[in-house]
C-alpha cells in the first residue's frame, strides 16, 4: 500500500452519524459503559443528554436496559469495546435481545488485534463467532469509515437486532464518502477470474493491496468486501467459487466461527472449491497494530501467500 492512503477511524465515523441520527430521529437512545470518550458516543451524550445513559462498567445491565427500552419502542444503540459488548453480556444479548428479536444495535469498537498495546484481554478475536451464533442477529463488519457511516444509518432504519464491529486506530479508507451500503450484499471491489479474496473489516484494504501485487504478477484476483456476514450473500460466494475456482478468506478474527467458517459452509453446501484462510490461530499480545498484524499473519503479503496456495490447489 502506498503512503498516500487515507486513514480514518471507524469509531469516529460512528460518533458523527450518531449525532446526525439523534437530530433526525427523537426515538434514538444511546447507552454506554464508561467508555464513551473512546467509542464515539460522547458527542451524542453531550447533545442529547436526556436520551443517553451511561451504565458504567456493567455490561450485562447495559444489554438488559437496551432490551427494555427497545420493548418500549426505542431504537437503541449500545456501545462499548468489542470484548465487553459481546462475551461479557452474551447471555443477556441472547435472552433479552436475540430471542425476542428486539430493536437493539450493538455497535462495538476496539475489535480485533489492532486494538494493540492493551494486549490479549482487550483484543476481541471471537466476537464474530459469538454474534453470528445468534439466529436473529444481523452482523456487519464495515471495511472503513464511509461504510461504517452507511451501515449505522441502515441499522437505524431497519428493525431488529444488529451487531456492528468497529476498530480503534485509523485504518485505510477504501470507499468514497456517501458510499451506499447494501445490507446482505457482498461488494465487488475488484474484478478477476483466477481467484477471489473475500475479506471483511480491516482486511479489505489488505486484500486490495494484495490483489494489486498479484495483478503485477499476472494473477487476476477478484476482491469481495463481505461487510455483511449475516445474512450471508451466498450467491456472491457461489458465483466467485464457480467463476474463479478458488477462494481466500481474510479476516482479523480467530479462525473459528468467522468469515472463513461462513464461506466454507456456503461452498460445502453449494459449490465445493478450495478455500484458503487468512485468520488468527491463537491469542495475540501487546504491541503496535502493524507489528501485530505482521507477527500474526494478517498483512497483504499473507493474503498474497494464501492466494498462491489457493491457485496451486485450483481445479
Amino acid at each position: 500500500m502506498t503512503s498516500t492512503v487515507t486513514k480514518s477511524a471507524t469509531r469516529e465515523a460512528y460518533g458523527q452519524v450518531l449525532v446526525e441520527l439523534g437530530r433526525e430521529d427523537p426515538n434514538i437512545v444511546v447507552l454506554g459503559g464508561d467508555l464513551n470518550k473512546s467509542t464515539g458516543t460522547w458527542a451524542f451524550a453531550q447533545q442529547f443528554p436526556e436520551r443517553f445513559f451511561d451504565l458504567g462498567a456493567a455490561e450485562q445491565n447495559i444489554m438488559g436496559i437496551a432490551a427494555g427500552l427497545a420493548s418500549a419502542g426505542k431504537t437503541v444503540f449500545a456501545s462499548t469495546f468489542a470484548v465487553f459488548g459481546t462475551g461479557r453480556p452474551y447471555d443477556q444479548i441472547r435472552l433479552s435481545i436475540a430471542q425476542p428479536g428486539l430493536n437493539v444495535k450493538i455497535v462495538v469498537t476496539h475489535a480485533g488485534i489492532i486494538t494493540g498495546e492493551d494486549g490479549m484481554s482487550a483484543q476481541s478475536i471471537e466476537d464474530i463467532a459469538l454474534m453470528c451464533a445468534l439466529p436473529t442477529f444481523t452482523v456487519v463488519v464495515p471495511a472503513d469509515a464511509p461504510e461504517t457511516a452507511a451501515a449505522v444509518r441502515e441499522a437505524a432504519r431497519t428493525q431488529g437486532p444488529w451487531y456492528i464491529r468497529l476498530g480503534r486506530p485509523a485504518t485505510p479508507v477504501v470507499h468514497q464518502d456517501g458510499y451506499r451500503f447494501h445490507l446482505g450484499r457482498a461488494e465487488q471491489l475488484k474484478g478477476g477470474s483466477d481467484v477471489t479474496v473475500i475479506a471483511c473489516g480491516v482486511m479489505v484494504s489488505a486484500a486490495l493491496e494484495a490483489a494489486e501485487v498479484l495483478e503485477g504478477q499476472g494473477v487476476r484476483c477478484r476482491v469481495l468486501n463481505m461487510a455483511t456476514l449475516k445474512p450471508t450473500d451466498e450467491e456472491a460466494i457461489i458465483r466467485a467459487a464457480k467463476e474463479t475456482g478458488a477462494l481466500v478468506t481474510a479476516e482479523e478474527h480467530y479462525i473459528h466461527g468467522g468469515l472463513n467458517s461462513i464461506v466454507c459452509q456456503a461452498v460445502g453446501r453449494l459449490c465445493p472449491v478450495p478455500v484458503e484462510p487468512v485468520a488468527l490461530t491463537r491469542y495475540a499480545e501487546s504491541g503496535d497494530p502493524s507489528g501485530l498484524l505482521r507477527k500474526y499473519g494478517l498483512t497483504a503479503e499473507d493474503v498474497v501467500a494464501a492466494v498462491r496456495r489457493a491457485l496451486s490447489r485450483r481445479g
Binding site: 458504567g56 456493567a58 445491565n61 436496559i65 427494555g68 420493548s71 426505542k74 447471555d91 425476542p100
Partner: protein, 307 residues
C-alpha cells in the same frame, strides 16, 4: 387508586367450581370480569385460590414445570393485576399500560394463570403449557399476549424493567414498572448492577418485588448462598425497602401504595412468602421447585385448595 381497564365491560363469565371440575380442567374466577375496584378482599382470596388451581392443573397437564415459586407469588400478582396496575387485556401493547416484568421466568405458570383469568387469552389454553406449538412456553416469552419480557435465565428482568422505566421518563408517560424477582435470583450479579443503576437514575417509577420464599433450586437459600441481610443490601444500593407478608394481599397493596409515594429512588418490596404456598406437601419443600405433581398429588392439592 387505579384505573383498571382490564376487566372491560361488566359481563360475568361462567364460573367453574371445585365440585364440578376434574383435575385436568382450569377454573375461571367467578366475577373476575367485574371492574376490579369492586373486588373485595374476600373476592381476591377466591381469585388467588383459582389461580393456584390453574397453576397446578397446567403444570400437571404439562408433566413438568415449577410449582413452588409460582404458588409463592400468587398474592403479589393478584395485588398487581387486579388492584394496582393499569392494563388492558384487549390491548396488551397499550402504550400507557403499567408493566409487569417476570424476571424469574420459571414462574411462568402463575403469570399465565393471571393473564388467562384477566382475559388475555382463553383459560383453556393453559392446558397447552410447555407443549409443542403452544403459545405458553416453559419460561415466559413475549410471544404470549401480556408477557412483557422473554425470561428463563435468571437475573435479567430488573435491567429490562429499568429500560422500560427510562423510556417512560423520555416519553413523559406516567406508567410504572413492576419487576418480580426470586430470592435465589438475587445471587446474580446483574441484579446488583441493575439495582445500582436504578438508584443512580432515581427511578421512582420502578418497583422490584422479591419473592422471599427462602428456597432456590436445590435447597434453602441459606444453604446455597446466604442472602441476609437482604433488606440492608437493597438499602445500601440506594433503594427504599419495605418488608411484607407476601401472602397478605392487604399488606402488599399497602406497600405498593407506599411505593407510589416514594420520590427520587426506586422501591423494593421484600415479600416474605412460603414456597409452594397452599399445598401442604409442597410448602417449604425444595423438591417442588421444579417438579410437576403426579395425578394423585394434583387431586390431593386441589382438595386442599377447595376450589
Amino acid at each position: 387508586m387505579t384505573n383498571v381497564k382490564h376487566a372491560g365491560a361488566g359481563g360475568k363469565q361462567p364460573a367453574t367450581t371445585a365440585a364440578s371440575a376434574t383435575p385436568a380442567e382450569v377454573s375461571v374466577s367467578p366475577g373476575h370480569a367485574r371492574r376490579a375496584e369492586e373486588l373485595a378482599e374476600r373476592d381476591l382470596k377466591q381469585v388467588a385460590r383459582t389461580l393456584r388451581r390453574n397453576i397446578l392443573v397446567s403444570i400437571a397437564a404439562a408433566g413438568s414445570g415449577h410449582p413452588g415459586g409460582s404458588l409463592s407469588a400468587v398474592e403479589t400478582l393478584v395485588a398487581l393485576y387486579y388492584k394496582v396496575m393499569r392494563h388492558d387485556p384487549s390491548n396488551p401493547r397499550w402504550p400507557e399500560r403499567d408493566r409487569f416484568v417476570l424476571s424469574k421466568g420459571h414462574a411462568a405458570p402463575v403469570l399465565y394463570a393471571v393473564l388467562a383469568d384477566c382475559g388475555y387469552f382463553p383459560p383453556q389454553e393453559l392446558l397447552t403449557l410447555r407443549k409443542l406449538d403452544s403459545r405458553l412456553q416453559g419460561h415466559a416469552h413475549i410471544m404470549t399476549p401480556g408477557v412483557e419480557m422473554s425470561a428463563g435465565s435468571l437475573g435479567q428482568g430488573l435491567s429490562f424493567g429499568i429500560g422500560q422505566a427510562l423510556a417512560a421518563r423520555i416519553d413523559g408517560r406516567a406508567y410504572r414498572v413492576y419487576v418480580l424477582l426470586g430470592d435465589g435470583e438475587c445471587d446474580e450479579g446483574q441484579v446488583w448492577e441493575a439495582a445500582m443503576s436504578a438508584a443512580h437514575y432515581r427511578l421512582d417509577n420502578l418497583v422490584a418485588v422479591v419473592d422471599r420464599n427462602r428456597i432456590q433450586n436445590d435447597r434453602f437459600t441459606s444453604e446455597v448462598m446466604e442472602l441476609e441481610p437482604l433488606a440492608e443490601k437493597w438499602r445500601a444500593f440506594g433503594w427504599s425497602v419495605e418488608e411484607v407478608d407476601g401472602h397478605s394481599i392487604r399488606d402488599i397493596l399497602l406497600a405498593l401504595k407506599q411505593a407510589q409515594g416514594v420520590k427520587g429512588k426506586p422501591s423494593c418490596i421484600i415479600a416474605h412468602t412460603v414456597k409452594g404456598k397452599g399445598v401442604s406437601f409442597m410448602e417449604n419443600n425444595p423438591a417442588f421447585h421444579g417438579k410437576a405433581p403426579t395425578r394423585e398429588e394434583l387431586r390431593q392439592a386441589l382438595e386442599e385448595l377447595g376450589v
